[in-house]
């Protein structure tokens, strides 16, 4: 339910994969064909690097590129898994504003469910899905217990929570 950019994850993996696939396959195929290998060896012997790698200007560009890459990759890593929210409902009027913290929902729902005989553990967290708040109720159930019964119990608790809150937020229940 988090806001991880999954398309970006897959695009990044795909690009790295394609680069490795193409480079690796090219090296293996060229090395396997004697005439191509000869051409590669001749080319390597005459190849001249068009810039002086030890020159200060070159090194400055390399260092700048490395720093930029590190910053971008760090941002990419840090952005994984975001999307938790603490605010479940915010309702403003002319005279003030009411904010319901997701912690309230978590405490009440967890307390209502943790004594259910089929439920081993329960954890409730608030998320922001496409700018609307939502709740995730993650349950682990005891061996052999019926997920249908557990789900009915959860829906009953959610109905009571809806009545208390006066509005409905989307709720995802995961039973594992």
């Amino acid at each position: 339910m988090n806001a991880t950019n999954r398309a970006l994850n897959r695009a990044g993996i795909l690009i790295v994969g394609l680069v490795l696939l193409v480079v690796g396959a090219a090296v293996a195929v060229v090395a396997a064909v004697p005439s191509w290998l000869q051409g590669w060896q001749d080319g390597a012997a005459t190849l001249a690097v068009p810039f002086d790698p030890a020159e200060t200007a070159t090194l400055a560009i390399v260092v700048a590129a490395c720093v930029l890459a590190i910053v971008l990759l760090a941002v990419f890593v840090v952005r994984q898994g975001r999307g938790h929210t603490r605010t479940l409902v915010r309702r403003g009027g002319s005279s003030g504003e009411v904010v319901v913290d997701a912690k309230v929902a978590a405490t009440l729902i967890e307390a209502a469910l943790e004594n259910h005989p089929a439920i081993e553990s329960v954890s409730v967290s608030g998320y922001r899905v496409r700018r609307t708040p939502a709740l995730k109720i993650a349950l682990s159930v005891r061996r052999g217990s019926s997920p249908t019964d557990v789900r009915d119990a959860v829906d009953g608790v959610v109905a009571r929570w809806d009545a208390l809150l006066g509005s409905e937020v989307p709720v995802l229940v995961t039973i594992g």
């Binding site: 897959r10 790295v16 994984q80 899905v129």
Partner: protein, 194 residues
């Protein structure tokens, strides 16, 4: 209501597929390490200090001289390994990455149920219907099939239709999608002393 239906569709779809975060983060960390190393070596070179691991100029020359310094077999082997790793990454990027979950009926709430939780309740129902211990029933749930294997106690018979009915009843209650087709197998050989 259609807004919340749309939200549920998105939430459930994302829940049922892997975000590929672990691999993406691992690749990013490798990228950071490589970039940090190249950057450090470049700074050291420009300061005229000895290299940490390899001087970048030496590394570049070695890379260019690769076909003449390394045996053909090593080139083919190394190239193949790199290509296979690349192929694995491409597959991970393109395959759907379904998690071992099934979706329940969406009402006020949306629900996803782990395959193990489904298998566990089916095993209990099947064991009760067959009149055997819970250790004599093994259930495995895949995307479309719930396979229930019952091993009977030696000298006893298992009422296969009642096991099938119990499993089907529980599957109907669960009402998951993709739908699960039951497959009941009663082992021919009995378990002695069970």
């Amino acid at each position: 209501m259609s807004d919340s239906q749309k939200a549920y569709r998105r939430i459930v779809r994302r829940e049922m597929h892997s975000p590929r975060s672990t691999l993406a983060i691992a690749l990013a960390v490798v990228g950071v390490l490589v970039a940090a190393w190249i950057g450090t070596e470049s700074v050291l070179l420009s300061l005229g200090r000895p290299a940490l691991l390899v001087d970048p100029v030496v590394a570049l020359d070695a890379a260019i001289a690769l076909p003449t310094t390394v045996t053909v077999a090593a080139l083919i082997a190394a190239g193949s390994v790199v290509a296979l790793v690349g192929l694995a990454l491409v597959l991970v990027a393109l395959l759907p990455g379904r998690r071992a979950l099934h979706q329940g009926r969406t009402g006020r709430t949306a629900v996803v149920i782990g395959n193990r939780a489904i298998a566990s309740v089916l095993a209990r129902r099947a064991a009760r219907a067959a009149g055997v211990g819970s250790d004599q029933v093994v259930v495995s749930v895949s995307r479309r099939v719930a396979e229930v294997r019952v091993s009977r106690s030696s000298g006893w018979t298992v009422d296969e239709p009642s096991v099938a009915a119990a499993v089907e009843h529980e599957l109907a209650r669960l009402d998951v999608s993709p739908a699960l087709r039951p497959s009941i197998v009663v082992e021919r050989r009995g378990v002695v002393g069970a």
